[in-house]
């Protein structure tokens, strides 16, 4: 199960498991992001390279325009994946 929601304040909330079979649903939302945005991982239990690739592509597009994603509430397992991938140097991970 995976859900993605764009909240009224602009924050994106991820819920469930972001795997390769769910990444198109996430892409539809991230493609609408035009400026800096916070992404809440509090309810996300799993991510693979498919989700990481989507986040990377979004970040690259936003950084090129002077913005970027801020990631919050990563679980320890997901934070470790970001560290292995070297993504902790590419994203602002707030807490």
């Amino acid at each position: 199960m995976f859900e993605i929601k764009r909240n009224e304040n602009g924050t994106i909330s991820l819920n469930g498991r972001l795997d390769a079979s769910q990444v198109d649903a996430a892409r539809a939302v991230f493609n609408q992001v035009k400026e800096s945005c916070e992404v809440d991982f509090a309810e996300l239990s799993y991510i693979s390279s498919a989700g990481l690739g989507l986040l990377f592509g979004t970040q690259k597009r936003l950084v090129d325009g002077g913005g970027g994603l801020t990631l919050i509430n990563l679980s320890p397992h997901i934070r470790e994946i970001f560290q292995i991938a070297g993504f902790d140097n590419i994203f602002e991970i707030a807490y």
């Binding site: 498991r17 795997d19 390769a20 079979s21 799993y46 693979s48 390279s49 498919a50 990481l52 690739g53 990377f56 592509g57 970040q59 690259k60 950084v63 397992h77 994946i81 292995i84 991938a85 070297g86 140097n89 590419i90």
Partner: protein, 139 residues
């Protein structure tokens, strides 16, 4: 120490069935949460690689898993396919800045980084690819 196996459609949409199979194994074998996360990721990356790179292969991809003492042994078998050694996959520049990073190779890199051992073999006669993985339990 009983090995369990499942055969899954060669489709990305089959991942839900693959994860359900792995969850049943982890729950039954008392595999800790961190190791279970790792097993899911390893199988997803290898499975999706096979689906994407082996178009025209057999209808099913076989996943087998076994707990042996404090280790989990995984085997993924794909048939009627061309050889593709994951060791030859591009290695991402994980220390590079966002401007220098290139897509590709991240999934296999994560797999290599998270497991103890990864082996690949290919039998030309049966056009059969087999990848085995060993992962020590985290807790």
């Amino acid at each position: 120490m009983t090995e369990v196996s499942g055969e899954f459609r060669r489709e990305i949409d089959a991942l839900g069935e693959v994860f359900a199979f792995l969850e049943t194994f982890s729950d039954g074998q008392g595999v800790d949460e961190k190791t279970s996360f790792c097993i899911n990721l390893v199988v997803e990356e290898l499975f999706t690689n096979m689906v994407r790179h082996n178009e025209g292969g057999g209808d099913q991809i076989k996943v087998s898993i076994e707990r042996r003492d404090n280790r989990v042994l995984l085997e993924i078998v794909d048939t009627d396919v061309e050889p593709f050694d994951p060791e030859t996959a591009e290695v991402p520049m994980v220390d590079a800045g966002i401007g220098e990073r290139r897509p590709g190779g991240l999934g296999i890199y994560l797999v290599r980084s998270m497991v103890d051992d990864l082996n690949y073999d290919y039998e030309p006669e049966g056009r059969r690819m087999r990848i085995t993985v060993t992962k020590t339990l985290e807790n």
